[in-house]
Symmetry: C2
Subunit: 114 residues, 2 copies
DNA sequence: CCGTATCCGAGTAGATACTG
DNA sequence: CAGTATCTACTCGGATACGG
């Protein structure tokens, strides 16, 4: 089932995907969740500079788009855990070549071997 | 040589790359130039809804980042041609898995075979 | 601990008109 | 044809304070 907030407004797969990961912190969230489940407070510490409001908003968008799963344990003190859905995991994999390009051409890190 | 407008401010290759393609029309410009050299007017027609000002601005950013090459023929009437640099071409390739993901999960187009 | 409410500022994009 | 100039509109993200 298709996701995204601008149904029918895309010209190609790339800008459709861009719409999903559009947001200052989204790829960083993906990155952080790629290593496993994280709690809200952990994510906040992993993303230096993000405010609770913005982090919560971006997490909700990712959740609405089916990229992250939100598990609320309804305990006191509160505990909420975020993790990637299978779709989110695949998105993360699809992002890898882009990460490699960025590392090489933007960060200037040449690959070790050729 | 590294490019990008926020040197040293990146956490990983992905958000470094995101900084380069950040802009409403950039991936569409990449897409259009992927098929060959285009003139300004052609790009404008290929990107329905873009204004001259915004198109010019985004092209200049891509040029500054070493993604597109701008060839001004200094003729009358004016002729300016845009094309991808080698780096831009590689960026376009790095974007392909993301495009495939978007096609499949956002646009809902399943791959033909498995 | 995990958020929401409110207000605000900055940057991005759009419309329109004009120029070399 | 290929832009620039000006003005405006809007959305995103940030700061701070408060709530369950």
């Amino acid at each position: 089932m298709p996701v995204g907030r601008r149904p029918g407004a895309y010209h190609c797969g790339t800008d459709a995907a861009m719409d999903i990961i559009d947001g200052k912190w989204k790829v960083l969230i993906l990155w952080a969740l790629g290593e496993g489940t994280r709690r809200f407070g952990e994510l906040r510490r992993l993303l230096p500079g993000v405010t609770e409001k913005v982090l919560a908003a971006q997490l909700r968008e990712l959740e609405a788009d089916g990229i992250v799963h939100r598990e609320d344990y309804a305990e006191v003190p509160p505990r909420v855990e975020y993790s990637l859905t299978e779709m989110g995991d695949q998105l993360n994999e699809a992002l890898e070549p882009l990460a490699a390009w960025g590392k090489r051409h933007v960060l200037g890190v040449e690959p070790a071997a050729r």
